[in-house]
């Protein structure tokens, strides 16, 4: 396997290439931006209907009180986790190959959390009273219910979102200073001057920066694990068949990392082309990401088997009935597609040639995420269709176009935020890529000199 990136790129060249990305991307950028805006518009239209007429337009009904909104909410929360995996966990493990791709992965974390937050709002029957869920002091002395997993959920997400924004921002400060120094005109100059907080790159600043960055990284890692465990608690702490599963928290975390890694591959391919990052987002890095994704795919498959086995051997007839319903009932096509996309498709990532084949990996990553979206849907809906009480079984409910429209629109919203971000903040970390080149060059020199202990 080749080196992660070419070692003889000059530092000035790195600055030039990355700064070009925020100024003159390929035309495709604007096409993507326009499409994202249009898709988001569809979502807005649907939400206006949802809000004004009432949630009935989503076609939800009395057993099916939750639907695609909650499923897609979990999907977006899940997608956020891999950003933290790449930026914080691999940072602590000194995995150098993450350096050119962690910035956009961290941005993905932030923006998918923002997208997930919207679904909480969309889902509520009385959106205008959403602040009741906040523990704020008021003259009525009423508090939210601290026993409710939904409240833990809201708190976990707010904490995770604010921490990952801070982490993303702190990590970009040296790069923002480079932008400030190289872009001399317009609103960008002002923006970068403010955001870079007077960074000069002195020894002391670097030392403080390192400590801060490491501290926030350490803080973020337990959050990443806890957030999706808490989302899993929404289901696992309830009493319903198919939800009341002890293995849900690790299962959700594995699923989250899985869909997140798949999304990183998708975005990797897009950014590499749109921002001409071929030199930085190289094929060896793609290969490593693909291998990581494959490993997580197998963990997810294993946990899936555990879930099925515990339902099958658990002697809870209602649980078993839900499982059988998933595999043979009206949800069967989606359930089997989930198995296919989530557990069969990843074997394409075992083929060494395909690991660096961009079109194939792009297609695979999209299929994986389709599978992971279906997984969330298959967790939420079949339980409502086939719960404890046979009279309330409803196998015919189908989400309306309004519901699908909002799900569709959320992808536009995410793409919009993400693409605008990449045009303003450098999506490749310049200073860390320089570290790579520096380390590598040093190691090479040492090799040439015949010294031991190369990096």
């Amino acid at each position: 396997m080749g080196k992660d990136i070419r070692e003889d790129i000059a530092w000035a060249q790195i600055n030039k290439d990355v700064l070009a990305s925020v100024q003159s991307p390929r035309k495709l950028y604007w096409v993507i931006l326009f499409i994202a805006l249009a898709v988001f518009g569809v979502g807005i239209g649907c939400e206006v209907m949802n809000y004004r007429i009432g949630l009935g337009v989503s076609n939800m009904d009395n057993p099916h009180v939750w639907g695609l909104y909650i499923a897609t909410f979990i999907f977006w929360i899940g997608m956020s986790h891999s950003g933290t995996l790449l930026s914080a966990i691999l940072h602590l493990m000194h995995a150098d190959w993450r350096k050119p791709i962690y910035r956009f992965a961290e941005a993905m974390t932030t923006f998918s959390l923002m997208t997930a937050g919207l679904f909480v709002a969309v889902h509520l029957g009385r959106l205008w009273q959403i602040y009741y869920a906040l523990p704020y002091p008021n003259e009525r002395w009423t508090w939210p219910n601290f026993q409710s997993p939904l409240l833990w959920d809201a708190m976990a997400i707010f904490t995770y979102l604010s921490s990952s924004v801070i982490f993303l921002y702190i990590g970009s400060i040296p790069d923002l200073a480079i932008c400030r120094d190289n872009i001399q005109a317009g609103w960008r100059k002002k923006l970068y001057s403010i955001l870079s907080l007077g960074w000069e790159g002195t020894d002391r600043q670097w030392r403080n920066f390192r400590i801060t960055y490491m501290t926030v990284a350490c803080f973020l890692i337990p959050l990443a694990v806890s957030v999706h465990s808490i989302v899993a608690s929404d289901f696992a702490m309830s009493q319903q068949p198919g939800w009341h599963v002890t293995s849900f928290p690790p299962y959700f975390v594995a699923g989250a990392l899985y869909s997140g890694c798949a999304a990183i591959i998708t975005l990797f391919v897009i950014l590499r082309y749109v921002f001409k990052f071929e030199e930085y987002m190289t094929l060896p890095i793609l290969r490593k990401t693909v291998r990581l994704t494959f490993a997580i795919a197998m963990v997810w498959t294993y946990l899936n088997c555990i879930e099925f086995a515990s339902a099958w051997y658990g002697h809870s007839q209602a649980d078993k009935a839900v499982l059988i319903q998933k595999a043979t009932g009206p949800y069967a096509p989606f359930w089997w597609s989930m198995i296919f996309c989530g557990s069969v498709v990843p074997f394409a990532m075992m083929v060494k040639k395909w690991q660096v084949n961009i079109p194939i990996m792009f297609a695979v990553s999209l299929l994986l995420n389709l599978g992971m979206w279906l997984e969330r849907w298959m967790i939420v809906s079949p339980t409502f269709a086939h719960g404890y009480y046979p009279w309330s079984w409803d196998h015919d409910q189908w989400p309306s176009l309004v519901q699908w429209g909002i799900v569709f629109g959320s992808f536009g919203w995410f793409t919009l935020l993400f693409m605008v971000f990449c045009k303003i903040i450098p999506s490749v970390s310049m200073y860390e890529v320089k570290e790579m080149v520096y380390h590598r060059t040093l190691a090479k020199k040492k090799e040439e000199l015949g010294l031991e202990g190369g990096h």
């Binding site: 007429i53 009432g54 949630l55 009935g56 076609n59 939800m60 009904d61 009395n62 057993p63 099916h64 009180v65 939750w66 889902h123 509520l124 029957g125 009385r126 959106l127 009273q129 959403i130 009741y132 869920a133 523990p135 002091p137 008021n138 002395w141 009423t142 508090w143 939210p144 219910n145 601290f146 026993q147 409710s148 997993p149 939904l150 409240l151 809201a154 929404d234 702490m237 309830s238 009493q239 319903q240 007839q317 209602a318 078993k320 009935a321 499982l323 059988i324 319903q325 409502f384 719960g387 404890y388 009480y389 046979p390 009279w391 309330s392 079984w393 409803d394 409910q397």
Partner: protein
């Protein structure tokens, strides 16, 4: 707003488990401790739906129309479920989930249709209460699940966690819809309670407006609640007298007598059922094994085959 204040306030409305003790009941407003409970005799039920209609009239339930009803968006707090086939057979063949499905779909009309009036079971350890993020559904001292419409934000978690699926969500702004109360039905709206806006959850209250009045009257007159003080709308309308309702803590009430005759106790663990096969006991509570401690006892139908 201090933390101690928060905890005190909060714990007041979070009942402890019925197994531990009776909770932190504050009986000042009550003539004596009350636990509202019901028993429904399925042998007497003819499935006439009068209880359901009475509930619509008493509790300002909107009529949603054919389309929304077919969509499962109806608001019937009291619903009559119709079953075919013998539950006995269903229980015998309940050995695998597959059979469970087969039996549920099996049309066995030999014994005729079987009816079951289903309403909120007012569980003592209610799965709906703990999950509400804003605490809009709570347990009252007299043993009811209260639903605070003004506090509800419509997350629908309560309904998701309800094993009986007896909570109904306002999917639309029903009071604004023409078929909710077409003229002159709007004239009979009950002024003792509200109509509900879109986006809130609602469910059976055991006719809260009636029990509240009865309890105040008893308190004023300085006596205990008696059976004749209060009837729920469904009970009042039932032509065969299948429903009885009253204070379970009062041993003289019909409900208390029925419960003890059937050896049904509010707390499942304290139940001491006569295990002999020909014990003639008909009382049971639905999904009791999930331990929500429901407050409604059903009396099994006496089948011709068993006589």
């Amino acid at each position: 707003m201090s933390v101690s204040n928060l905890l005190e306030n909060w714990s007041k409305y979070r009942h402890t488990h019925p197994l531990d003790d009776g909770g932190h009941a504050d009986w000042n407003a009550y003539p004596s401790p009350i636990k509202w409970a019901m028993s429904i005799d399925l042998d007497a039920c003819t499935g006439c739906n009068a209880c359901s209609v009475a509930c619509y009239a008493e509790n300002n339930l909107p009529v949603v129309g054919k389309d929304k009803y077919a969509h499962g968006q109806a608001m019937h707090w009291m619903r009559i479920e119709r079953y075919w086939g013998e539950p006995e057979k269903a229980i015998d063949e309940f050995d695998s989930a597959m059979n469970f499905q087969l039996v549920a779909q099996n049309f066995d009309v030999d014994q005729g249709a079987q009816f079951l009036p289903m309403l909120c079971q007012q569980c003592e350890a209610a799965p709906c209460e703990t999950v509400c993020p804003v605490g809009a559904t709570n347990h009252t001292e007299d043993g009811l699940n209260s639903q605070i419409y003004n506090r509800c934000i419509g997350s629908r978690y309560c309904s998701a966690n309800c094993p009986y699926k007896v909570r109904y969500f306002n999917w639309y702004s029903y009071p604004d819809q023409e078929h909710a109360w077409p003229e002159p039905l709007n004239q009979q709206l009950n002024p003792d309670l509200t109509v509900r806006t879109k986006g809130v959850m609602e469910k059976c209250t055991f006719c809260k407006q009636r029990t509240y009045t009865a309890r105040n009257d008893a308190k004023t007159e300085g006596r205990e609640i008696r059976d004749e003080d209060v009837q729920t709308a469904c009970q009042q309308a039932c032509p065969t007298g299948a429903i009885s309702f009253g204070n379970l803590f009062n041993p003289e009430s019909t409900v208390a007598k029925q419960w003890s005759a059937q050896q049904v106790d509010l707390v499942k663990e304290k139940q001491d059922k006569d295990g002999t096969p020909d014990n003639k006991l008909r009382g049971y509570r639905i999904l009791e094994e999930l331990r929500p401690f429901p407050s409604i006892m059903y009396l099994e139908r006496v089948r011709e085959s068993a006589v």
